[in-house]
Subunit: 488 residues, 2 copies
């Protein structure tokens, strides 16, 4: 027993006093009692089962099939990395040379700590494949998942961060929305009993949830698999059933998170659709973005996914397009104004692609988001300068310029106000109507429409005015919210 510090929650029980306990414990230090309750440490190893391939019409192993610019296996590795996994053990089976070469490439490209284990050493079945890793893994807890399933990082994080798991227990991710599962017949089913697993079998008639094929294992799983094997049962589910009987199989609910068995050409097509639907992120879009920009940017991103363009390169392309649009609007006059408006709107659409590609290819980064936001502000400034300049050439006078400056202040302060709100109130400004009305998608769309109609300047003034109204509303909301709050 080592000397470590950890935290635990203790519930005191009414009716038994400390003095009663002390009679039983005359001299032993209190601190030595809890190790049996010690929570399981966080897993940092993933065992990836790349043993079988079932996609009927293709000779390629499933894990090597490319889906929107990354192979399935690559997606599994990157989702694990994003969720905090540091080491990978890939179990090889069918077509082991091709699979090995593919994962070697991935490991080199993303600098992964990755080792291979051969499942085919006289043992058979998914249980034997897991057992093949026992020497590589030892006593450490590990994540276990197949190489031919799409899994989003959030699901892996949910499994890894399950609380209250004790040493010797395994945790199985289950999805309660059985009807929502594509090719549900094929998925393993489980019966549940107060969050503990009762049975796991693909042919189970009556069931509560589907097994999402991701689990958090421990040495106990190896022991159970060995016991199952001793009685001639070679599947992973046989080991899990033994663990259930021992009261050591728990579940974590991952309903609503993406997991997808890519085992048929139909499943592959469906997986592609789901990835495309998911790539825009959740809920923060403005009105124009959701209805107009996103449907287009998703198509562009689907196409861009096949290229090697990085999200930051796309950010710079969008910024460059804004500058070109601003220049066209500055020169102005009929066709050029229309072209300028269209280019600005194109920049606004492509501004959505950087984030989409980042999510699609597990490339989201703080620096990317930072670059994107800062360049957007400069792009907006350039557009306002261009439009105001063109209008002042045709209609000289200080009011043209002064109004343009006020619009510029509105555009930048629209972004400033919600950032300031988040900092002053320690929480994000909600995505209310004010927030969505002041977003960049609507601003640039309005300017583009104005430009196409030959009036970019007045469209800009109207949007600048709208932005000031939104900023004022946000100021009032920030003021009302903090009536009784005092700072430290």
């Amino acid at each position: 027993m080592s000397s470590t510090i950890y935290k635990t929650e203790i519930q005191t029980v009414a009716g038994i006093g400390a003095d009663q306990v002390e009679r039983y414990l005359p001299s032993l230090p209190i601190e030595t009692i809890l190790p049996a309750e010690r929570p399981q440490q966080r897993a940092e190893i993933a065992v990836i089962l790349a043993t079988t391939s079932r996609v009927a019409h293709d000779e390629k192993p499933e894990s090597t099939i490319s889906l929107l610019g990354l192979s399935i296996g690559n997606r599994v590795i990157l989702a694990c990395k994003e969720a905090g996994i540091r080491r990978f053990v890939v179990v090889l089976g069918d077509q082991k040379e091709r699979v090995r070469a593919h994962f070697d490439q991935i490991a080199a490209k993303y600098n992964c700590n990755l080792t291979f284990v051969d499942a085919g050493q006289g043992r058979y079945g998914s249980g034997a494949s897991v057992l093949a890793t026992v020497e590589e893994i030892g006593d450490a807890p590990f994540l276990l998942l197949p190489a031919n399933h799409l899994v989003e990082p959030q699901l892996i994080r949910a499994v890894l961060s399950t609380t209250g798991v004790r040493q010797g227990e395994v945790v199985v991710a289950v999805d309660h929305n059985c009807n929502g599962i594509f090719d549900g017949d094929h998925a393993s089913k489980v019966k549940l009993n107060d969050g503990r697993l009762r049975q796991t079998n693909k042919r189970l008639g009556v069931f509560d949830a589907a097994d999402a094929s991701v689990l958090l294992g421990t040495k106990a799983l190896f022991e159970a698999l060995e016991d199952a094997e001793a009685s001639g049962r070679y599947r992973l589910s046989d080991g899990l059933n033994l663990l259930f009987e021992r009261g050591a199989a728990r579940t974590v609910d991952v309903t609503g998170l993406l997991w997808f068995d890519v085992n048929t050409p139909e499943a592959l097509r469906e997986a592609r659709h789901r990835l495309i639907a998911d790539m825009s992120g959740k809920g923060e879009d403005g009105f124009v973005s959701r209805r107009f920009n996103r449907p287009i940017s998703r198509r562009i991103s689907t196409w861009l996914a096949a290229t090697h363009l990085t999200p930051n390169q796309i950010t710079v392309v969008s910024f460059g397009l804004s500058l070109i649009g601003a220049a066209l609007l500055a020169v102005g006059g009929g066709a050029l104004t229309i072209a300028g408006g269209l280019v600005v709107q194109a920049a606004s659409i492509i501004d959505g692609c950087d984030g989409e590609i980042a999510r699609l290819k597990y490339l989201a980064s703080r620096r990317g988001a930072w670059l994107d936001t800062m360049l957007d502000r400069y792009a907006d400034t350039a557009v306002v300068l261009g439009i105001t300049f063109a209008h002042a050439q045709a209609h000289p006078g200080p009011w043209v310029w002064l109004s343009g400056m006020v619009a510029l202040a509105g555009f930048i302060l629209a972004g400033y106000s919600t950032k300031e709100y988040a900092i002053r109130h320690d929480k994000s400004y909600p995505n209310d109507v004010l927030n969505r009305l002041k977003r960049r998608d609507l601003r640039l769309f309005g300017i583009a429409v104005g430009a196409v109609c030959g009036q970019p300047y007045f469209a800009m003034l109207a949007l600048g005015f709208l932005n000031h109204v939104c900023v004022f509303g946000i100021m009032v909301r920030g003021w009302s919210l903090s009536v009784s709050e005092k700072t430290g």
Copy 2:
């Protein structure tokens, strides 16, 4: 023993295994063992000793003496409130009617839960004064402090949040910088032994620290004071010495935080100086603010403290001054330009007073900070509009306006960049040279100097350029910092 859940840290001890312990504990649930270790709950009551007055030349009780707009007693109450105290028990002694009337006023004004206890019921000494509250307080932990000491909220918070305190212990705030204490002869001294109190006596010859007169008490203090009283010792320090002997007196180091015994006219003058020195806050000022604005704004705040002006009213006055300055600069021409520059600089100085008054009078609020920052941005916009307008009248041409717009973008983005940085990187942008060069104090000072020299426009352009350089530097810093960070 009640059924409550709490958290504790357990250190496992090498060499004694869980199985060994289990032999001693065949059937008792583990959860019942820790209550003796239960940490003390957080105190929400303050006992304020308002029993004596010593300021020689004045008939008024010390707690009622006004200091920069608030009485000493009022300052004690507000500092406690800011630190989280919800209920007050004021112990009356000398001049009890005046003191009672004064605290009644405070309670009504600030909506405090405040009760009075009379110390003079046949018992004498500071120990007896504390003992008089035993029925009001009961078993709850409480903060104990005198009504005639200045104490900053941070010090009270430090005492209240001392960790690892167990039930039955008291915690005494001590200051290790004995030489820094004004009228050090008068302060109580303590000797320390590994963070535990050894002795507390004003006349102690050899000592380690000074007793800051703020302590966290429990029922154990009452018991100790009763025991001391039984043997004819009536001072608070007698009770504390008994607690020391019982191993139940701990200390918390509050060196560097403000506490001040306002017991003489000299001490009162010194306390005033310290409050004035402290009111500007710590460390976030720009170059101009620290050397030029603050010395002036502190004088103005000292004068404003005597009025009923609130920080938010001062914010609005400063904003109004900026608009007047902007209008003067817009009309322009010799004297008006100089006047505009001076008014803008005056607004910049007064922009510091809102925060100073807020700190001085315990009125700092999120909404105040929110209003201040948002109005500053609009004030800056007005100044840029005014200056650019005036210059364009004398020198018409698009470049005058375009440059003005670029400067405006620089001014607003200077603030935007560090807010965005804080949100993207989950930490404040450091107060480095870039941050201080881009601050509002330097921007408005530069414009004012330019206006006095007759060239506000070019001064503004130079500062706008400087701000863009700073924003670029901040962008680079944000980019470099997050090379390997990925978002979730």
